[in-house]
Point group: D3
Chain length 231, copies 6
């Protein structure tokens, strides 16, 4: 792999990047790729105490280290209150971050039950249009976030069906360890955001694609040539 | 629960009824419900040796006993060769079986990658139209079959998104034991039809609906009144 | 039926609950079920005169009595101006009301042409996630509102196709009487919100499901076990 | 209206043309348009007695006269057994009939629960491709057939949502009289193919589009210029 | 064609009306139809310098003259900042303009990547409901805007598939000349909004429908009778 | 690029591989990739004269040479008569060919208006399931065939929306030359299968993705890791 291959993972909140793409990030960074995580919203006032903010950022840094993230950017919009920022300002902040990273691969949240996920998805879609920086993006895809993504209304709102599955059999344990760093965000089984549910989803996605553990994505735009794959 | 509540599970091939609804059947029969499994096709000549047919039927009887099935009907159409029977004869055979059972609840396969699943789905849809026997069906739903159902083409063919999830936390082990009866149909992990993948799917479906293990269904028609539920 | 079975019908404006589910409510309450109607928005200033508000609330009370509603809650957000309330406050108000009722069955408006219907649908979807109170909801479904629901853009926005039809042959006249209580909201035929159109829709929905008159719903999540139906 | 405007209505079986488009035909012929009905399948052996065939054709002629049909063509494929004819022969027969009529407007059945409707839809789609005769077709649309069309699986198979509604307030009684000619095909209310259900559907479709009674269609291709409408 | 036939084309920004419907407008006006263009947003402060506003309005007037527009209305909402106007005010402004024109045909933007296109689409959908003025609209359709419309997320957001194609072989050069009037909005090939891309799209749309050059539309509601076409 | 990277393009009839993927093939082979074209059906008796068969195969060999195809396999099923072969035999023939090639990338026709395209799509989907040979396929996608693919019924049948666009600016002329080899299959403009329409589609697809000329695909399954791209 070229040492210059760069991937940007956009997380609405700390933990989404690991839930959706932790294994893919770990495999990518292990192969020499450069990963940036752009965290857009924060668990901060007015809806959260500042201490929650500090804790989740600290957890994020540990989790990012676990999967080999090179750069962590935090935009610090207050969670659930994004709608109170003018749209062009919010989208502009995402746009500038993407332009600065100039990635080849971008992973976005899926537009789902959580309103922040939809706002960030929209911002990413605008910022990655195939003009300017966007022309150099080879692959743009949306990852799933356990619970939120699968709580979209069946047959009314977009329902997640992966067309890209990455074999994370070699990095599933790394993903689980990274998730464990988010102690404040993990809940005990049988709650939906449990370690058990996360592992089960990975095993199920693997079974769809012919390997042990996997992460599923919805491809939004790919422009790589057929010869730009490594056999 | 009324002792008269009857459920019919239509299986294209032996094992589909356990893969898709084994936990729901076990919970239903444990509560006093009467379950019939209608197995439509068989692993028989010309594509399979007769010994495979005998073995899978024997496995089916064990599996059915494990989950509390009352009646097992085998129509014995040769697998993958259903298209060579005139459509009205094939559909007629399914129709007669459904009329004979006169069920309140019908579980159908999902129309997926396996051509037999689509043929059986079509036969069930015709037989359960809301005329004649069909008028007494309170609930008609399609279950998922691990691997086949998730191999429909993303965004081109119907992709399974459950709108009905049954909590099978109390019967997950019974389901797994019933599946183990189908020794000839189970493959070792990481193959898609493994015990591990089946359990992972159940855990994932549970996480979508707020409990430990679940089975997901796509509701095709429900006519129960709102007061015909038990709190 | 258990005397404890509770149903919550969420109405964006007074009359939506009768248009969409009047017959189902009447049948449910007649069987001993307890029904709460949560009316979210009101025809109040700045877009409506306060007298309109008073009149429609008075009509609502009459209509609710006609179909056997036990409890009527009015949140009094100004119609068409919901977007001016911060999202987490608006959703929070719906959430608290649902938590207070702790229903087994929830009926939501369909996300359609009327912007308030979409806002309320979103609020209900967030409040009924399968965590906390949401875990006890056995059935969550969206009803149709004549005219608004069928004015969604064909093939661009979600188009209503019922997968649950309730036989309201025994309560169609009660539904019509309840609708007649909303004298200010009913228009003469051939206007879309006429008594004639409402009755025709019920007859058409009935014909889809094999009985005389019906109400159609789009199921969003069902978690009842198969044995939790009454034959 | 030009005296040369020609419309072709393709009916899988006798009565579908009235169920789906009787009011539109009557309005069109009253204005001087020329209507051909092409009936593809017949209620004939092996599944029906020849006397049924004769009766339904006689009923068709009466119904066609009632709505002003100019020409009635019967292809006489045996109902439900179309699959036993090689596809290119079946499609070829439809193609030749369409070429002979050279219509400006073509109304096709919707691909629904009845397998013959899907076969005929496919034949019409092939025959009307925008090459040869097909280039002169200004409008191609699919009509709904009460019951069959609304028995497609919700959210799995195509669900009918009209984007074209014709005001048949002036011809609703003519449509009902034409349907009454099909005495052998009409069932008493509350059966789905009742006169009451047919009228209710027309009233509901009217309410969607702002008039009293309507017929709904799904447009498959329109090529008229914006100036080729009459105000 | 009746001299009274009136068409309204709603453009979010100057140039959308030509990109999406320039050839159809030119053909319609050449046949004697009366065309109004309603331009909703403007390239004005705070995001654009006032000189950009003046320039694009001047370009619009030239372009409108080229295709035979009778009336040009500019609502002057600041581009990308529409969300800061209360929804009922924004929708009300569109509503009043439509009521004033009282058109038979309305062409709307498609709800796509550009947030203004979605806001205007919503406003048009509300204003054209089949009540009041909306009852006289015979045809309501959405046009495509090169680049923006085709940047909707595949299989997640509505993807443009035309069901109405107008043959603009006779007006393609007029369309291209009108587009050339928007010198500030046209970019050199291979940028997406190039003259070459615009012509290629027209040729491709023509090929879908059997003629040389075409414009594609998504029909939202048609209520013309079948006899209200000109052969 | 690894010299071992292998791509298989499955063509229902001679010319589909060039129409859909000629530029992508040329770019891939120029970079050292190995391309096999599997042509499934032939323009042969009973519907075509044997001389047509010979001519189209000869044209195919020229076209394949033009874009750098390494291996050409012809299965010689009679066009439009595939339905007369038992399904498991037809699918088996495709399966064996794919197993023999053992490709990393497979390009399939899109399931569209031409019944042979749907049969071949189905055969490819079965043969490439992620078991056995299928597990080594990194990318499976469907290409569009001008005219046929865009004649699927809008909003009823799958409508082509690309999520993968390959920049063929460097090979567009090679593609056009290869297409010119199919003299018997090309029609003069403004017919749909003209050189002009093919070039226009390429330019339009390019404009969607930010480059001059492109080919669009619908991804069916990708399993490459994020690091298996070349920057």
């Amino acid at each position: 792999m070229s040492t210059k291959l760069k991937m940007l993972v956009v997380a609405p909140h700390p933990d989404d990047e690991i839930l959706g793409a932790g294994g893919t990030i770990a495999r990518f960074s292990a192969a020499g790729g450069e990963v940036t995580v752009l965290t857009v919203a924060a668990h901060m006032p007015p809806l959260y105490h500042e201490s929650v903010h500090e804790r989740t950022v600290a957890e994020a840094r540990l989790a990012h280290a676990a999967v080999g993230v090179s750069q962590s950017i935090f935009l610090d919009f207050p969670a659930v209150c994004i709608g109170q920022t003018p749209l062009h300002e919010f989208n502009g902040a995402i746009h500038r971050a993407i332009d600065q990273v100039a990635p080849h691969i971008v992973l976005s949240p899926f537009p789902d039950r959580h309103v922040d996920h939809r706002a960030v998805f929209e911002g990413v879609m605008v910022a990655t249009r195939p003009i300017g920086t966007g022309r150099d993006i080879k692959l743009l895809a949306a990852y799933e976030t356990i619970s939120e993504t699968h709580w979209n209304a069946p047959h009314l709102e977009p329902n997640f069906t992966p067309n890209w599955c990455v074999d994370i059999s070699s990095t599933i344990e790394t993903k689980m360890q990274a998730m464990a760093c988010y102690a404040s965000q993990v809940h005990p089984f049988p709650q939906p955001r449990s370690m058990e549910a996360l592992r089960a989803l990975a095993l199920f996605r693997g079974s769809q694609a012919g390997f042990g553990f996997g992460e599923g994505f919805h491809i939004l735009r790919m422009t790589a040539g057929a010869e730009q794959f490594i056999a």
